[in-house]
């Protein structure tokens, strides 16, 4: 297993945001993480990315125990992530933003620049390379976040609602981008609200509700499961919808 999270929990005070969640991701998979708002998927996601240290359980990546490792150690091992609310470096140009990522594997400026330009080309940001990041709109920012993390050569890419807030055309373009990243050999875990994206991309879906995993399996099967429909629409809807 590339990523293995066992019995992970995270509490804020007395509130248990994640209660005993397990997740195994094999090399080459695309796994979708879904669930209603407040289900704990973002908290779980941040535990895997190293932003939060879990209150309990164990997380390992490629044989390394990363449970309590800081975020920068995750990046070094090959776990990359994007943010739900884009956290681009506003004062820096798009090229400079991506170079910060590229510097992780290339200490020299020239090499980092070459790597950054490669990624910028691939993510379709080439015309904007010299612009400050603050000039970008939401789709551009989301794309820049993906470019920036790709420059670190991740083996596992964690996408936190990387497609939220995009128009349907942009969503299509973004799906293509994610697919091409996957084809280049990167394993992907994606948190997403848009069902279309999950159905299109994920080979396997994990459904969160109230801090627990309530279902998992193939996307088409999972979305028809009673427990999942109930989690999204409330009790009583599950049976009606199934009929």
């Amino acid at each position: 297993m590339l990523l293995s999270a066992e019995n992970v929990s995270k509490s804020f005070g007395s509130f248990k945001a994640v209660a005993g969640a397990d997740l195994q991701v094999a090399q080459g998979e695309i796994v979708g993480l879904i669930g209603p708002n407040g289900a704990g998927k973002s908290t779980f996601f941040n535990c895997i990315a190293g932003d939060f240290a879990p209150s309990g359980g164990r997380i390992s990546f490629d044989g390394h125990d990363v449970t309590d490792a800081p975020a920068e150690a995750h990046a070094r091992l090959g776990i990359g992530r994007t943010f739900q609310i884009p956290a681009t470096f506003e004062d820096m140009t798009i090229l400079e933003n991506v170079m910060v990522g590229a510097f992780l594997r290339h200490a020299r400026r020239g090499e980092a620049r070459d790597r950054a330009l490669e990624v910028i080309e691939m993510t379709g940001l080439k015309e904007l390379a010299g612009q400050p990041a603050r000039n970008l709109g939401t789709p551009g920012r989301k794309r820049l976040e993906i470019a920036r993390v790709l420059a670190t050569n991740p083996r596992l890419l964690l996408l936190d609602e990387a497609l939220a807030g995009l128009t349907p055309t942009e969503v299509q373009r973004a799906i293509e981008l994610v697919r091409s990243i996957h084809q280049s050999g990167v394993t992907i875990v994606i948190v997403e609200h848009i069902m279309e994206v999950i159905l299109n991309l994920a080979q396997r879906v994990i459904v969160f509700n109230q801090g627990r995993i309530i279902a998992q399996g193939k996307p088409q099967d999972v979305v028809n499961e009673e427990a999942v429909i109930e989690a999204y629409l409330g009790r009583g809807h599950g049976r009606k919808a199934a009929h």
Binding site: E72, A75, T88, D91, M92, M99, L104
Partner: protein, 327 residues
Amino acid sequence: MRRGTVALAAALLLYPWLVSGTGSSAFLQDMGANVLLAALGAAAWNIVGGYAGQISVGHAMFFGAGAYLPLLFFHHWQLPPILGVPAGIAVSLVIAVLIGFPTLRLLGHYFSMATIAVAELLRIIVSNWDLAGAAIGVQGPAISRGWWDLIFRSAVPYYYIFLAVLALLLFVTWQMQRSRIGYYLRSIRSGERAARSLGVPVRRYKLYALMLSATFTSLAGSLYALKTGFIDPESGLGILVSVQLVITAALGGAGTLFGPLLGAVILVPLQTATNTWFGGGGTGLTYIIYGGIIVLIARFEPGGLLELWHRHISSRFNKRAEARDAA
């Protein structure tokens, strides 16, 4: 840009000679040396405060260490003050590491407040410490015992010493700006969490920035003490010293290579003018001017004057380009 840098270097090199023909050449040469010294301190602060975005308001602790040590070397052992310069840097580095570890975890205003507290603490300790001259201060050699005492009648030798050190610092900053550490520091200023997610060891790089900044701030303090020949807790460790470094850099443009120099070119003559016009009462006025500048920068141009300049220039270039495209 390159041509501009050469012109600037030429102007700085020729300045003492250019003003030598005027009636007040000694006064203008002395002011020139003070401008360079202010630029040096502000450029040193700029590494951690500008590039890394960690607003220290306690840099007087490094300036003071640099200023005190050389004069203490003379005061206690009659050694040439210049031998105390490396000692000042060493003490500054120790302080930087000691305070850096706990305070660099703090974000934004909390870091600024912690640095103020440490600097004030140091000022109070030194004010009550007889070995460090207590509240009276420490004096350097009154008459030169040899060239190594670096005592000159004219401000011109100081001017060129300051210029050489400033040139070194700007070169180091320029190198830093275009290598990994420069990109990392700017990413930290923009967003620590995102920087960390890309593998930037945030605390380590902040500490590097603080150490580099402390080294050159200490040097600025040493040069000030060598030129003035006297230091007391207020002029070496007072909060006004820290504030002046911040204001000078911020006025010109924090996080830019030449911003601190621009800030110094404006501020030092302004201070000299208020001091001459209002005599001893001018000190209070300095505070008022600083306060006014803080308000104006924060309200209208957080990027400093250099940013204003760049915007102006780039908009003119764009207009020219548009005109060319239209033709």
